[in-house]
């Protein structure tokens, strides 16, 4: 953890260290207790929430920058991370330009590259950045006010996630190692925001041949114990090359 003074020095140097005019914003999705979540931060000074973001070091590939930023906020590495859109309106950071009038670095135009990440909820240890006091998961059904154009960035990410559901290993990245069929179904229902038929869902998912059915069942529920599954990563990758066929 840097002291206040070290921080000030860091941002005074930012213009030298980081590639100017380019930023990265990440929409980090997690899934917990049947709810889809986004990782967000709350500003020190106002009731405004924003998405994890950062800048690109002078000689750093952008994918690597996104990974680094994500690791700083979540503690995890090797996450599923995809570029989805670039936000390049000259007015998108108007608020920052006003707030940081005297700061050379922040007072410039930024083209922001949007990434969305899919992570296993339980692995994440949310860590605030130097502008925030809070870093935490927000439920998609209970979102706060967004700063800047971050609402737009978030919406675009969510739309992309829905479109790519059949082309990306979304289940694999968001579910824990072992999970039950109803849990996986809940994930799909949450992302798509619609109910799916239990039996058809099962047949379809199993038909892809991307799951391993385990011998154990999930005990402790008040009812019949469901089987546990894990992903067959090799088959999953192969299947995704072709895209999982058909729409929901």
């Amino acid at each position: 953890m840097l002291t206040k003074q070290e921080l000030e020095e860091h941002w005074a140097q930012a213009e030298e260290i980081y590639l100017n005019h380019v930023s990265i914003d990440c929409v980090v999705f997690g899934f917990h207790e049947g709810q889809l979540k986004v990782l967000m931060l709350k500003s020190n000074n106002e009731e405004a929430w924003y998405l994890p973001g950062g800048f690109v070091l002078n000689e750093e590939p952008i994918e690597q920058a996104a990974n680094r930023i994500l690791k700083e906020r979540t503690g995890i590495d090797e996450v599923f991370l995809r570029q989805f859109h670039v936000f390049g309106d000259p007015d998108r950071t108007k608020f920052h330009k006003e707030t940081y009038k005297d700061n050379l670095f922040f007072n410039q135009r930024f083209i922001s590259i949007g990434y969305y990440a899919l992570v296993d909820f339980v692995d994440v240890k949310p860590m605030p950045d130097s502008f925030s006091e809070v870093c935490t998961w927000r439920d998609l059904n209970d979102l706060p006010e967004f700063q800047l154009d971050h609402e737009n960035i978030f919406r675009t990410a969510l739309d992309t996630l829905r479109l790519q559901l059949n082309y990306q290993p979304i289940g694999y990245s968001l579910m824990p190692q072992e999970f039950t069929m109803p849990e996986l179904q809940k994930l799909y229902e949450t992302i798509l925001d619609k109910k799916l038929d239990r039996r058809n869902f099962q047949r379809r998912i199993l038909g892809f041949g991307i799951l391993n059915k385990l011998q154990q069942t999930r005990k402790g529920g008040a009812h019949k114990a469901p089987y546990l599954y894990s992903f067959n990563l090799e088959n999953y990758r192969a299947a995704l090359k072709e895209g999982l066929q058909g729409g929901w």
Copy 2:
């Protein structure tokens, strides 16, 4: 047309005029005589071909920059234009950095935003830029050597086009005002690189309700004259909101 000296002055000022570190590359697709084409330029000095590209003015929205660049190369406005990927490898412009060692502007790292455009072939008047002697259509079956990472950019655009075939008004943008069913089918076959059944194709396309069947037929062929169609733009837009369902 600028003189050589005016050009030199322009690029000497580039650092002031354009947003540093950000560039735009466009993959312009056209369709002519049953062949899919890309618009490319050839360097003055070498046997290297590259994609139309340019930079973003300080206060210019990026979509507007892409449109401006496209207009400069093709003469047309209001084209179908979509962002598809950002290319941010620090080494991607290594060649330029070496070639333009003494130029402050070119000798910097560029994050390039990739756009693909779909245009009506006959509307385009290819115009070289200040680094090229030739601007012309290249057949997808007869592509030249690419400069920098432009082969990668092109491939990524083509993959995106295939994926989005059912979600974007691709036929509308690439076909002339009036066209026959076999011509439209050829377009789909070319993009997807596979043969389609004539009757099923027709039923499917007509089923979307996005075409107007005209009374005239295309005379002059050596055989039965096919009917002409035009797009019903209103229905097309509506249908695309939902995505044209099903895969080929």
